[in-house]
């Protein structure tokens, strides 16, 4: 199995990568922090990966995407599965104060996904087998006053992936949308942890299973499915008054 991981330094993505490493997969990792990527490569090789290649790149630099994806395709000799995982939670207050900051957040969390997914899908289309997974979020289901910049970007990712799934189904390629709830990772270090907070290891493994099975949309942990069903049905008139 030849797996491309974008945002490979993510805590969740690392957990998924560990599962693929145990299956002797070949991995191509992209992140922006070279020393951490090298440490990941050693870790995943020790865990059984047949081969690990890394490349450091800032994924917000969209112009670099075509060369990056081609490089991964060549290096792996074709991509069987890809996971797009990078992201920043952003500072809602800072985004409100500065449009440029809002757009930077949107570039990292949405535009860069749209670019990468298009390039990867176009490569995989001819292979007639494979999987593309994206980490969106339950935050993309409804715009909340406390972090709607992040939420809007994840919402764009969710809708884009939904359309891409319909397109790719015709050629046997699964597009998997992952919607985690709150996960204990550096991204949420500023957020209070509660009983619903999940461990990265569990979420990472769930992504691995969903990719192998070619599932469509996955809430992880599972209880976010029913929770979001309720949240989606709350009328806007009431929703706008909540402190979510």
């Amino acid at each position: 199995m030849k797996i491309l991981i974008l945002g490979a330094t993510s805590t969740i993505a690392h957990e998924t990568a560990k599962c693929f490493a145990a299956d002797s997969a070949e991995l191509f990792l992209v992140g922006r922090d070279a020393p951490r990527l090298r440490a990941l490569a050693s870790d995943l090789t020790a865990r059984g990966a047949k081969r690990v290649e890394v490349i450091a790149a800032d994924l917000a630099q969209i112009d670099g995407h075509p060369a990056l994806v081609s490089h991964a395709v060549e290096s792996l000799g074709g991509i069987d599965a890809a996971l797009v995982a990078h992201g920043t939670l952003g500072d809602q207050a800072a985004s409100q104060a500065d449009v440029q900051e809002t757009l930077r957040q949107f570039t990292t969390n949405a535009t860069s996904y749209i670019s990468l997914l298009t390039l990867i899908a176009n490569h995989m289309e001819e292979r007639r087998t494979g999987c593309i997974a994206v980490i969106s979020s339950v935050a993309g289901e409804r715009g909340r006053g406390s972090n709607y910049v992040y939420g809007a970007a994840k919402s764009a990712v969710t809708q884009f992936a939904s359309g891409l799934r319909a397109r790719m189904a015709k050629c046997g390629i699964a597009v998997v949308t992952i919607k985690p709830g709150v996960v204990d990772t550096p991204m949420t270090s500023g957020i209070k942890k509660g009983p619903l907070t999940a461990k990265a290891e569990k979420v990472g493994r769930r992504i691995y299973v969903a990719m192998l099975k070619g599932e469509d949309v996955v809430y992880t942990p599972w209880f976010w499915g029913p929770i979001m069903l309720v949240i989606r049905t709350i009328p806007e008139g009431i929703f706008k008054k909540t402190k979510l």
Binding site: M1, K2, D23, S24, A25, D80, A81, E126, R127, R128, T129, G130, C131, A169, C171, G172, V209, L212, K213, G214
Partner: protein, 465 residues
């Protein structure tokens, strides 16, 4: 080197050549179609490459025999002796870096799969049953659903060793004894006994096939789907409804697939299921049960059917019939006739249409036929059956003259179109049809081992004199 070259006339000691021990044939020494029934003078069981019989001292004609998965009489030798090669069942060397396997000629493909699959390799191509030997796969130069990509089995064989009745042992490859190499691939077991072979494997990630079933309404539609599918899919084949007439003529279900990317899917067991055996011959009313089964397996619901997709374990995809072992006993004890032919691609597709209308108007034959395109990849085999075109396979209950006449009519259409009839599935073609099918047969004669012959060979060549 794994084997050393020895000459005949040795003693029975290790590495020598012994006088053969001829045993009585068993019930398994019949062909898959159970027609014709013949009387073999005896069977010599081969047990080891280090203990081979002196073929020169055997009286009568000799013929290698694998698992008897040939339908007609190409694996039979009426009045002669069979060399049962199934005891030559050892793997010799597996290079799992390069994907090359060397094994003795009696090793079954099913046995090879058990070893290579978990290590990331698959057969270069496989026939519709995994219960065949490597020797048999070479001697009939068998093809699979990926012929348009991989060519025949023989096209993936790089080297083998042949034992001739004069005691000589020839290592054959495209660069050593190249003519004998070409003659033996598809050589119907008549050039000598294959002892071992090297062949290339195909790298895979895991045991699943990602497949699609697409209904088509006519033969023209079949050709369209086929042309498109052969570009993107490694495995393609179709079931065609032989009962359909008029504007439904040639409707069916197209199956296509690729090796899927996953090495394992949680909750999806891929290991082949236990086999169920048909214990004895069933009366003729059970006829066609098997094709009904195959029919149901693909869930054929004529025009209401939609394209279906799925990721399925490889075993059911490649070997739907292997689930029931000895399913040939479902056919009545009179046996049955298979028929497989290939006709070249031509713009008007008239030959293939004529074949279907002749079959459907006769009211005979199974109600399902298999249709597949063969690609351009050429096999080294002199008498290899596959060639660019469309191949059609189906079975017929043996109802005497009526059936034979129908098959002769099909032969005429095939020969007129410049096609060929497949010896591995034949028990009745005429010498004339054989010679038209295999125009290089005369060239082949010089490589045949004169002590080797088969019921099939005598049938198609005796009248030539």
């Amino acid at each position: 080197m794994v084997t050393e070259v020895r000459s005949a006339g040795g003693t029975g000691s290790e590495g020598g050549v012994r006088a053969p021990n001829i045993e009585a044939p068993e019930s398994r020494h019949e062909s898959w179609g159970r027609f014709p029934r013949v009387n073999h003078a005896g069977v010599i069981r081969l047990t080891s490459l280090a203990d081979l019989p002196d073929l020169g001292t055997i009286e009568g004609d000799i013929l290698p025999f694998g698992y008897g998965r040939s339908y007609g009489d190409s694996c039979l030798n009426d009045g002669g002796v069979l060399l049962d090669a199934t005891g030559l069942n050892r793997l010799i060397e597996f290079d799992d870096e390069l994907g090359v396997l060397r094994c003795e000629a009696g090793v079954m493909l099913a046995d090879i799969l058990k070893v290579i699959m978990p290590r990331g390799w698959f057969l270069p191509t496989t026939p519709g049953t995994k219960y065949v030997s490597v020797g048999g796969a070479i001697a009939n130069d068998v093809h699979g659903k990926n012929h348009h990509v991989a060519g025949t089995f023989g096209a993936n064989v790089t080297r083998f060793e042949l034992l001739r009745s004069d005691g000589s042992r020839l290592v054959c490859s495209p660069s050593e004894n190249a003519e004998m190499f070409s003659a033996t691939i598809g050589g119907l077991g008549l050039t000598g006994l294959i002892l071992w072979a090297d062949f290339r494997l195909r790298a895979i990630s895991g045991p699943y096939i990602q497949m699609e079933q697409i209904p088509f309404g006519s033969l023209d539609e079949f050709f369209d789907v086929s042309a498109d599918s052969d570009k993107h899919y490694e495995y393609t084949m179709s079931w065609v409804d032989c009962l359909a007439v008029g504007h439904h003529l040639g409707r069916g279900l197209f199956m296509r697939g690729n090796h899927s990317w996953q090495c394992a899917i949680p909750g999806k067991d891929w290991r082949p299921k236990e086999r169920f055996t048909v214990p004895f011959s069933l009366p003729s009313f059970a006829l066609n049960n098997l094709t009904v089964r195959a029919f149901n397996a693909v869930n054929y619901r004529s025009q209401y059917l939609m394209t279906k997709r799925g990721t399925v374990p490889y075993d059911g995809f490649f070997y739907p019939l292997d689930v029931v072992s000895h399913w040939n006993r479902i056919y009545c004890s009179d046996g049955f006739l298979q028929y497989q032919c290939v006709v070249p691609f031509v713009a008007d597709r008239s030959a293939i249409k004529d074949l279907f209308s002749t079959i459907s108007s006769s009211g005979q034959g199974s109600f399902l036929a298999v249709l597949k395109t063969f690609g351009n990849r050429q096999s080294p085999g002199l008498l290899s059956f596959p060639r660019p075109g469309v191949t059609l396979a189906l079975d017929f209950a043996h109802r005497g003259e009526r059936t034979l006449e129908l098959l002769n009519r099909l032969d005429e259409i095939v020969v007129a179109a410049g096609g060929a009839v497949y010896p591995a599935k034949d028990a009745r073609m005429s010498g004339d049809v054989f010679r038209h099918s295999f125009p290089r047969w005369e060239e082949f004669l010089q490589y045949r081992d004169v002590r080797f012959s088969s019921s099939f060979w005598r049938r198609v060549t005796d009248a030539a004199a």
